[in-house]
Symmetry: C2
Subunit: 103 residues, 2 copies
């Protein structure tokens, strides 16, 4: 799998963040061509102290070609622009490959 | 799903990091009771500039009870101690729930 992984630091206003993330941002991500799954990880604790991240989002693609085409799409530009608008100071974006070790 | 998500910043010596992560750390994580999957995401790029993260590891558990028991286990203590030893200045650990949106 190929993934766009977006980490979001803890926002000042979690309720407003969640509302925008769910009602505006996620629908934009769903429009990106070739997306197989969106995995939304909500951080509820850390082993020591308060968590520094609020959310880790994985946008999952089946293969490299689909991922590359998606990244260049106007829909992805719109999604990225939205992320910068509502969470520009919170978000970091990474492109990654996924290796699954099943136990 | 319940997850321990560990983010690792880019190490100075990527080869040494990968060797320890694969040969020493992953076997320790595999021993933690109740682990369903380990998903190892290796960052290969970022949309702007150089990536700040090298690796995002997800240690996946089926439910909250299994997760809580695992976190208290001696095997998890050993895994955490190892992470602090080889990557104490690189790693951040988060506990999260996963919501999957399939398209």
């Amino acid at each position: 799998m190929y993934k766009l992984i977006a980490t979001y630091k803890v926002p000042n206003d979690i309720e407003a963040f969640e509302k925008h993330y769910t009602e505006v941002h996620t629908p934009l991500v769903k429009k990106v061509p070739g997306v197989k799954e969106i995995r939304v990880n909500r951080v509820f604790a850390a082993p020591m102290g308060k968590p520094t991240l609020h959310l880790v989002a994985e946008v999952v693609f089946s293969d490299k070609e689909t991922f590359n085409a998606a990244m260049k799409s106007p829909e992805n530009m719109a999604s990225g622009k939205d992320a910068m608008t509502f969470a520009g100071d919170l978000v970091s974006v990474h492109f990654a490959t996924e290796e699954i070790i099943s136990l």
